[in-house]
């Protein structure tokens, strides 16, 4: 199935958004997840299915400034 992750089209396997994170070794606490332009609550990552054509953004914290 094809989804867009952070702007890049990718062929992915996995049933849920959490699976996508796991496949990339991303700790869910390190990112905010946006699915099709709406924020996805962290407690819904494991229950939200991935669908063909989904646009997923993994937004990493960026804390510096000084």
């Amino acid at each position: 199935m094809h989804v867009k992750i952070n702007g890049k089209s990718e062929e992915v396997q996995g049933a849920t958004i959490l699976d996508l994170l796991k496949a990339k070794n991303i700790d869910p606490h390190m990112v905010a997840v946006e699915l099709n332009s709406a924020m996805l609550e962290r407690d819904r990552l494991a229950t939200t299915p991935v669908k063909e054509g989904d646009q997923v953004e993994f937004l990493f914290y960026m804390g510096g400034g000084r």
Partner: protein, 273 residues
């Protein structure tokens, strides 16, 4: 308020712009901008806002200039080592443009002083290096109803977004709370390519000026991410989150508070972006 001949010359490249003109330059001259953090992002932002003729620039920072700052904090110089950053910055601003009134606060930005401070300004620029302060600035701007230009830099990546409270997505609409301590590196532990501060800080200054002038399209409901390795910008659409703990439909944050200070240990680095 009338400009002197000298001022007309100084700001002539602004005044020539139809979107600015004499009228816009007066708006800039009357504007009050608060820069939280006189460091990497604060340095270029302060310089360009000063050059632009912003009437009042507020600077809050409790730190002194350290040798490791000079790789990117271009408002400070070698001769400033050990001096309070706000004083060092004020001198450079006034040397560049004596028209600017610089108000310095040699203090930490906390829940105790945040609201009172932010309330005195028209626009706030986030130039801090830690999550507790970034969230606090976001909250203070929400409660004081002041537009905020958020910025962040880490390693080779930078991010800017503009927040108009109640109208556009806030920082908590995207990142509800700071990351768990030790999970995400801040620039102190992780390093940062110095010029990134210039790129992101000057975009923040651009946004602040646009807000003051009321021109163009602000960087609201969008996060602009910059990757210096590829020299590529990417825009991520955001929107107000009904579940936002601050500006959502059922807010759980109803007053300012300080998040726990960050610990410096880093267990995991964000290598997946």
């Amino acid at each position: 308020m009338e400009f002197s001949d000298e001022q007309v010359t100084r700001y002539s490249r602004h005044i020539l712009l139809p979107e600015v003109g004499g009228k816009g330059q007066k708006k800039i001259a009357k504007s009050r901008i608060l820069i939280v953090g006189a460091g990497g992002l604060g340095s270029p932002a302060a310089f360009y806002l000063a050059a632009a003729g912003v009437g009042t620039i507020g600077l809050i920072d409790s730190d002194a200039v350290d040798l490791s700052n000079l790789q990117r904090q271009v408002i400070h110089q070698t001769t400033d080592l050990g001096r309070p950053k706000v004083l060092s910055a004020k001198e450079k601003i006034n040397a560049l443009n004596p028209d600017v009134e610089v108000v310095t606060y040699e203090d930490r930005f906390t829940s105790k002083n945040a609201l009172e401070l932010v309330a005195k300004y028209d626009v706030v620029i986030d130039g801090v290096d830690n999550f507790p302060a970034k969230f606090l600035i976001n909250d203070a701007c929400f409660f004081a109803d002041k537009p905020l230009v958020h910025g962040g830099i880490l390693r080779f990546d930078g991010r800017v977004t503009t927040i108009v409270p109640r109208k556009s997505a806030c920082y908590r609409c995207v990142f509800k709370h700071p990351p768990p301590p030790g999970l995400v590196a801040s620039c102190q532990e992780a390093g940062v390519i110095g010029v990134l501060a210039g790129i992101i800080g000057t975009i923040q200054a651009t946004e602040a000026l646009k807000l003051v002038l009321g021109i163009g399209r602000p960087l609201t409901d969008r996060m602009l991410d910059f990757d210096a390795r590829r020299t590529a910008f990417r825009e991520i659409r955001t929107r107000k989150n009904p579940h936002c703990p601050l500006c959502g439909e059922h807010p759980t944050i109803t007053e300012l508070f300080d998040h726990e200070p960050e610990t410096c240990a880093v267990n995991v680095t964000s290598g997946a972006s």
